[in-house]
């Protein structure tokens, strides 16, 4: 394994048990079902998919908020499954989490200073001077300046964009190596969105951070990440570097997704879009074979509905879980 790999995920599954009454098992919600990838240091990876596709569960499993049902997560070569609680707490200092709703993520009765000091207190950085230095640095970095004006403010005194900056500052305060950003801008206005995404990008580059950027908004992805994973029904159906995915998308689901997203253009009003019928499947009882086959315009009878497609690699670093590409390149597992 290369040294540069920060995180490796191997055949990860996170299933949630469904119970009928208290004890009887009624089945599982297979929220993440067999995902594998390597994330190098300093790379921004975008997980794109519709709601219920498992992108948030995947990120939260990696961040140690859910326990995987099976599979491995290796962080700097250490298998998280082997860590005890204290080691797990130490591991979490490597991670930052930026969530969707900044106001909900900030405790309303704590000042910004207390909010930023809390993670340090938990992780044993109790020297006040060191705390102040770090708070100062991180607030300057997220441009909540002049710093002294903001230290005493409470979350409700900040605008939406400033709140999200505060959340980013808190995620950065322990100097993590990986940040999970779950729809970090979807609650913000268009004009502020770009500002926050540019800020995240700058922080990522200056600290050589790895970022897992979760979004349903494909159009922001090209500006803020190196690789895209398209998720559908708990699987990563297509994985590729951004440019390659946008110029040469292979999976029928990816094609449908890209065709559904408009750019602002008056011509859009004149044409109807070609959208596959139906809706994403239940994750309790996913369809046999390829999970997209009931909606797929190019499904091959007797193959797609029977056998689950492995990841094919029709061009370097471009993986697609689709039988259409079975002739092109060998099935890889990366």
């Amino acid at each position: 394994m290369q040294d540069n790999v920060l995180l490796s995920v191997r055949d990860l599954r996170t299933w949630f048990e469904l119970r009928r009454w208290v004890f009887a098992r009624a089945g599982y919600v297979r929220a993440v079902d067999g995902v594998s990838f390597d994330l190098p240091r300093g790379e921004a990876l975008a997980l794109v998919g519709e709601s219920g596709s498992g992108k948030t569960t995947l990120a939260r499993t990696i961040l140690g908020l859910y326990k995987p049902t099976s599979g491995e997560i290796l962080f700097e070569g250490v298998n998280l499954g082997t860590l005890n609680r204290r080691e797990m707490r130490k591991y979490r200092a490597n991670l930052g989490y930026v969530m969707q709703d900044p106001y909900g993520a900030l405790p309303p009765f704590l000042s910004l200073r207390s909010i930023l000091a809390e993670p340090m207190r938990i992780h044993g950085i109790s020297d006040r001077k060191e705390q102040n230095r770090r708070i100062n640095d991180v607030l300057e970095e997220v441009k909540l300046t002049p710093v002294n004006d903001f230290l005493t403010k409470f979350p409700h005194m900040l605008s939406g964009g400033q709140q999200q900056r505060a959340v980013i500052a808190r995620a950065m305060i322990l100097r993590p190596k990986l940040i999970g950003a779950d729809e970090p801008v979807s609650m913000l206005d268009a004009s502020v969105r770009v500002e926050i995404l540019k800020l995240l990008r700058r922080i990522q580059e200056s600290h050589n951070l790895a970022v897992i950027y979760i979004t349903h908004d494909l159009s922001t992805v090209r500006y803020f990440s190196e690789r895209i994973f398209i998720m559908y029904a708990a699987k990563t159906v297509e994985k590729a570097p951004v440019d390659r995915l946008l110029s040469n998308h292979l999976h029928p689901y990816t094609k449908a997704l890209l065709a559904a997203i408009p750019d602002p253009d008056p011509k859009n009003a004149e044409t109807f879009r070609d959208i596959p019928p139906g809706e994403p499947p239940s994750l309790v009882n996913p369809p046999s074979g390829c999970r997209f086959h009931p909606r797929c315009p190019r499904a091959i009878e007797g193959l797609c509905d029977v056998k689950e497609p492995p990841a094919f690699e029709p061009e370097p670093e471009h993986f697609v879980e689709c039988w259409l590409y079975r002739g092109e390149g060998d099935a890889g597992t990366a």
């Binding site: 997704l257 559904a260 997203i261 750019d263 602002p264 009003a269």
Partner: protein
């Protein structure tokens, strides 16, 4: 029939709050023709939703000022009594698809009955006739007929949104107002709903007002657009001017901040924040954030009518 379907002139809507008077809609005028779809875009807090509430007279209790004129087919509906407005305008001639309305369906009523309800109430039709018409509109929005006998929780988000749109269409109103109709939906579902709306516009010559902060989605339906800023209209133009070549510096920045999937461009953002509507600045409201500001901007710019038909509230085009 009057020349325009809807003509809003100098509409004001202020709210009284504990901190002062919020000038949510401050002198807004625009025109909507038949079979027009008008996009209203702007940041949150710019008064988009208040504008809709003012047009449909869905007002909260703390109204401070509510004045201006709204001509629907040449008749000033601002002069109507509350009772007359309710029975003759709201939902019969103008209907409304509210933000996340799909979550507001009654959980203990079958969906079909809810769709038919406006007919029973406003058109005094029998239950059977109303349900038959509900069947008809549900076909138009692509909702399978057997869904009418289901309850809301048995429907997916996209299907519920279709039911809401069907409900808004069932009285054959002149105007349907959509407030963020797709923002709670997934991408493919969103595209599907936009297809439905396009179909209604084409087949029934339906007129729409479409309010959202998602510029790209409005371009799927709208042939005209309004950009709002701090309670006022900054620019009005047809789709071509609006999406591709806006004039007002705010509209330009806003369009430049929209990420595009299919083409590469440098994204911009607008530093600073919109002014408080409790005490908006004297001159141009965008001046504090504007790169092109000059002395004149300290006075309020008039709404300028340009030769190509667009209207811009900016001194640069005087």
């Amino acid at each position: 029939m009057a020349e325009h379907l809807l003509e809003v002139k100098d509409l004001y809507l202020y709210f009284r709050t504990t901190r002062g008077v919020v000038q949510a809609v401050d002198g807004v005028s625009f025109i909507l023709d038949r079979n027009d779809a008008l996009a209203v875009i702007g940041e949150s807090g710019c008064g988009k939703t208040s504008l809709v509430r003012a047009i449909l007279r869905l007002l909260p209790r703390n109204v401070h000022t509510y004045k201006g004129s709204i001509l629907l087919d040449g008749v000033d509906i601002m002069k109507f009594s509350e009772e007359r407005f309710r029975s003759e305008v709201r939902w019969t001639r103008m209907s409304f698809v509210a933000q996340a309305a799909m979550n507001a369906l009654n959980p203990v009523l079958r969906v079909g009955m809810q769709m038919a309800e406006p007919l029973v109430i406003h058109h005094h039709l029998s239950k059977q006739e109303s349900l038959a018409q509900a069947m008809e509109v549900s076909r138009m929005v692509g909702l399978p007929p057997d869904f009418l006998s289901r309850y809301a929780f048995e429907l997916s988000g996209g299907m519920r949104q279709r039911a809401i749109i069907a409900m808004a269409m069932i009285t054959k109103p002149d105007l349907i107002v959509l407030d963020e109709p797709t923002s709670a939906l997934d991408m493919l579902t969103q595209a599907n709903i936009m297809n439905v709306l396009k179909g209604i516009k084409r087949d029934l010559q339906q007129s729409f007002i479409f309010i959202t902060h998602d510029v790209a989605t409005t371009s799927e339906l709208c042939n005209r657009g309004v950009v709002m800023y701090a309670g006022q209209i900054a620019e009005v133009g047809d789709a071509h001017q609006f999406y591709l070549d806006p004039f007002h510096p705010y509209a330009q920045k806003l369009m430049a901040s929209v990420p595009t999937l299919h083409q590469d461009k440098e994204l911009e953002f607008i530093p600073g924040q919109p002014p408080s509507l409790l005490d908006p600045p004297q001159g141009c409201r965008f001046a504090a954030r504007c790169e092109k500001r000059f002395e004149k901007c300290d006075q309020e710019p008039p709404m300028l009518e340009l030769e190509d038909g667009r209207r811009v509230k900016c001194w640069l085009y005087e």
